[in-house]
């Protein structure tokens, strides 16, 4: 094994994200992931290529998709000798696959990799209840007809009702939105601030589409040519008119609406990674190096911290390891699960008390320069197909950093910071640096 070397983001491809039940209502996770891979292969001329490893995952996953990523590879123009693995870390899946493959490249275990993620809220698995499932399994194991009948006789009509998919936290039974409502109240995030963040997200994403920024990041699919959730013509007035949907049973006035929360979304994304040697051999230009990453988790079960606040811990640890502050980053990407998640995280970083009591730091981590935050929009506008969001962010940021570095020419390092919250009280942070 050789000593670590840089691992680079060489590019990416995703399909436009669609609102659940929309353009991709009848497409499966496998369809979506294969489409994203097809576009990546076409963009980079990888037909017949053996990629070192393709790693991707889905949060809402059918049991039949135990080898989802491998199946997508087999359905793509990549060489069928390309290894693949499935990964899952809730909404952090996408960034986690990027980090895992980048680390393997850094260690010389891989020359190239494709990281990715996919989720279809439209094609989510529906399962049968535990009583029906056990009866069917017992019947299957039965050796004689009477045993089989006895097993099946246990089934009651109410057992036949399917169990709909849920994204509620298994430990608390609360939905993600209700969890975030607690955090929103805790940090006193105003309705107006949330709506303003949502508006900026839509305006910036629309501007990026109009400028052709996504021409080499997205490939249309099933007639959808832009993110289906994008509302370029939304306004503060329209957002202010929406009724609150979360936190209605709390003491604080409810402020989280369909406008400042991400909708259920279908989509898939991929990121092409490689060593400098592999990139050169394939005439590809490295966009950004994957410098480092940090994961964190919080105890939301016992109310010690908010469900989606883990990045508030991961990011300061990552910054400390590199001796960096927010001012050292040209761009900062904070996944917009809810507008108030971003605002609560920013507030925590600006709080001396949070720094002292939670991070064991003498004073506040710092203020994120807002003109560097989510400059091309984020999940509130694009939508959030859970495992696909990380790939969207990494590819978008890598391109943006490369563009900035080309503009600046000769300045210091052009860095980008990624922060993604995830179900289960998880969070992941990563640093990219323009190549």
């Amino acid at each position: 094994m050789s000593s670590p070397r840089p691992a680079y983001v060489l590019g990416g491809n995703r399909i436009p994200f669609a609102r659940a039940g929309g353009a991709y209502a009848h497409a499966s996770n496998l369809d979506l992931l294969t489409a994203a891979l097809d576009g990546l292969v076409a963009r980079f001329g990888l037909q017949g290529e053996v990629i070192g490893q393709v790693s991707a995952g889905a949060v809402l996953k059918h049991s039949r998709d135990f080898n989802l990523t491998r199946q997508a590879v087999l359905g793509s123009p990549l060489s069928p000798r390309t290894p693949a693995s499935d990964a899952q870390e809730a909404c952090a899946t996408g960034v986690e696959t990027v980090v895992a493959l980048a680390n393997k490249i850094a260690l010389g275990q891989l020359e190239s990799g494709v990281a990715g993620g996919v989720d279809s809220a439209s094609d989510a698995p529906i399962v049968v209840g535990d009583r029906l499932r056990r009866a069917l399994l017992d019947a299957n194991r039965a050796k004689t007809a009477p045993q089989r009948l006895a097993a099946l006789a246990r089934i009651r009509p109410k057992d036949l009702a399917p169990v709909a998919p849920r994204t509620d936290e298994p430990s608390t039974g609360l939905s993600m939105g209700e969890h975030q409502a607690l955090t929103t109240a805790r940090w006193g995030i105003s309705r107006q601030a949330q709506d303003e963040l949502a508006l900026a997200s839509h305006q910036r994403l629309a501007a990026a589409w109009d400028a052709g920024f996504f021409d080499d990041l997205v490939t249309s699919y099933q007639g959808l040519t832009r993110d289906g959730n994008l509302r370029p013509d939304t306004s503060l007035e329209k957002l202010a008119a929406l009724p609150p949907v979360f936190g209605k049973r709390l003491e604080a006035a409810p402020s989280m609406t369909a406008g400042n929360s991400t909708p259920l979304t279908d989509g898939a994304s991929t990121v092409l990674l490689g060593s400098a040697e592999w990139a050169a051999a394939h005439d590809l230009t490295p966009l950004a190096a994957v410098v480092d990453a940090e994961v964190a988790a919080v105890d939301f079960v016992h109310g010690d911290e908010g469900l989606l606040m883990a990045p508030a811990y991961a990011v300061p640890r990552l910054l400390a390891r590199h001796g960096l502050t927010f001012d050292d980053f040209a761009r900062i990407e904070i996944h917009e699960a809810f507008a108030s998640t971003v605002l609560s995280t920013l507030a925590a970083w600006e709080s001396d008390e949070f720094a002292r009591t939670r991070l064991d730091l003498p004073s506040a981590v710092g203020a994120v320069p807002r003109d560097r935050l989510n400059v091309h929009g984020s999940s509130l506008a694009a939508g959030h197909p859970f495992a696909a969001t990380g790939g969207r962010i990494v590819a978008t940021l890598a391109k943006e950093l490369h563009r900035l570095a080309a503009e600046r020419e000769g300045g210091g390092p052009v860095r980008g910071l990624i922060s993604v919250c995830a179900a289960g009280g998880l969070g992941i942070a990563a640093i990219l640096e323009a190549a």
Partner: protein, 457 residues
């Protein structure tokens, strides 16, 4: 896209009834497949003099110039018509005629073979252009070939075609572009090219090492490659050995990716009307594939309206996408210093731009404009061994023509000597021919792929 009528009159009782009633009976055309023989059956080379001898030598000789002639195709060649022989091709070399009286002998000898010409047979004339300075009798003889060929082509049946090669003064019949044009017209690659005369202006260009892979080592950009003719152009260029950059608007991305993956090229999502379109496609081709050699301007739109009802947005959209965009891209390529290795520009014109078409003033202006543009652009590329030419398709069976009203479509596709619509691959073959290194001596011309449509030249 199917042609039910063509199928009907070529099978069983349908064929008998059509023959009895004297209905048009279009023949299924043979298309080129790599590795298939150039001709099935003997070729007849008529005419006297050194050009006829050299042409016969190319058809019959050994490959790759081992005996001093640039190439040989190993065909069974006759120099005089053998009675009752069924020829696959008849080559009539008329470059040395100086008086109309001299046409009779070779022409009438060719005539004796026509009734037994094989299905999909080829008649090709080779002649010199009539110029204003020529003696009147010389000019008359040479211009006479034009009328002769175009009429002869209209008489051929069974999928046979008649085309000509017009060699500029001083250009030998062994010039690379003359040899390549001859090969193209004899082969199944020119299935839907009929009644056309290909001008060879210069003794320039380079013959391929392998006639099945004439574009080996070349990098081609094809705009509008997501579907229709453009997608097939990408297929054919890749089949001929080129690395293909497939360009289309981002909204066509899914189809574009499928084409790029099929041809093992790359997809570049780009609106050709973007101000930096030329720079972006050049950067992509050079950084990813090491250069740019062939630029195929295929992207085009229609916004049909009678001129009396024309709106500015319809006019502007068509002129901008079909014409202004490629002028800007060409300007970028020409000034870049990167488009200098025997570069080829091939642009998609249309018979509408030649003969006009009711309701298509904007489209015809753009397509006529393309014919003028390649004529003026080609000389600028000559210092680099380059050229620019256009292909003008007639009625081609595509998704676009499939949307025409059924009766209009049936009539439109019969209005040519082959009595059928062409396939996208027919247009693509002509593009590949003009894109090839051998076509360097064809300068600023427009090649019609129309089955000898009744309108225009």
């Amino acid at each position: 896209m199917g042609d039910t009528y063509l199928d009907l009159v070529n099978r069983g009782p349908g064929a008998a009834i059509a023959a009895r009633l004297g209905l048009p009976r279009p023949a299924p055309l043979h298309r080129y497949r790599p590795g298939s023989p150039l001709l099935v059956g003997p070729a007849l080379v008529l005419g006297s003099g050194p050009d006829a001898d050299a042409a016969a030598r190319i058809l019959s000789g050994p490959p790759r110039g081992v005996d001093g002639v640039p190439d040989g195709w190993g065909l069974d060649v006759h120099r005089h018509a053998v009675p009752d022989e069924r020829y696959a091709a008849v080559l009539v070399v008329l470059t040395d005629v100086t008086h109309p009286d001299q046409l009779a002998a070779p022409v009438l000898e060719a005539a004796s073979t026509l009734k037994r010409l094989r299905p999909g047979g080829r008649v090709v004339t080779v002649s010199r252009p009539a110029l204003p300075d020529d003696a009147p009798a010389l000019a008359a003889a040479r211009q006479g070939v034009d009328g002769l060929l175009r009429s002869l082509a209209k008489e051929l049946r069974g999928g046979a075609t008649g085309n000509g090669i017009v060699l500029a003064e001083g250009v030998p019949v062994t010039a690379p572009s003359a040899v390549a044009a001859l090969r193209f017209l004899l082969s199944a690659r020119s299935a839907f090219v009929d009644g056309q005369l290909i001008d060879v202006d210069l003794d320039a260009g380079r013959l391929p090492d392998d006639w099945d892979r004439p574009l080996a080592g070349r990098v081609a950009v094809v705009t509008g490659a997501a579907r229709g003719i453009g997608a097939v152009v990408a297929d054919v260029l890749a089949r001929d050995g080129a690395t293909v950059v497939c360009v289309d608007v981002p909204a066509a991305g899914q189809a574009l990716a499928a084409v790029a993956n099929r041809v093992r090229g790359t997809a570049l999502q780009l609106d050709v009307t973007a101000p930096d379109a030329g720079e972006r496609l050049l950067e992509h081709a050079t950084s990813r594939h090491g250069g740019l050699h062939v630029m195929v301007h295929n992207a085009g739109i229609t916004r049909d309206k009678l001129l009396a009802n024309m709106t500015a947005d319809r006019w502007d959209a068509v002129l901008s996408v079909n014409l202004a965009a490629q002028l800007a891209i060409n300007e970028t390529l020409l000034t870049s210093g990167e488009f200098v290795d025997a570069p080829r520009i091939v642009a998609m014109a249309s018979t509408s731009g030649i003969a006009g078409n009711r309701g298509q003033t904007n489209y015809a202006a753009s397509k006529g404009g393309i014919i003028g543009a390649v004529r003026a652009t080609a000389p600028l590329l000559l210092p680099f061994g380059g050229t620019a030419n256009a292909v003008a398709p007639g009625f081609i069976e595509t998704e676009m023509t499939a949307r025409m009203p059924a009766l209009t479509r049936q009539v439109a596709r019969r209005l040519n000597s082959l009595q059928q619509g062409g396939q996208p691959v027919d247009v693509a073959e002509a593009v590949a021919f003009l894109a090839s290194p051998a076509a360097g001596g064809i300068v600023g011309r427009t090649l019609r792929v129309c089955g000898q449509n009744l309108v225009g030249r």
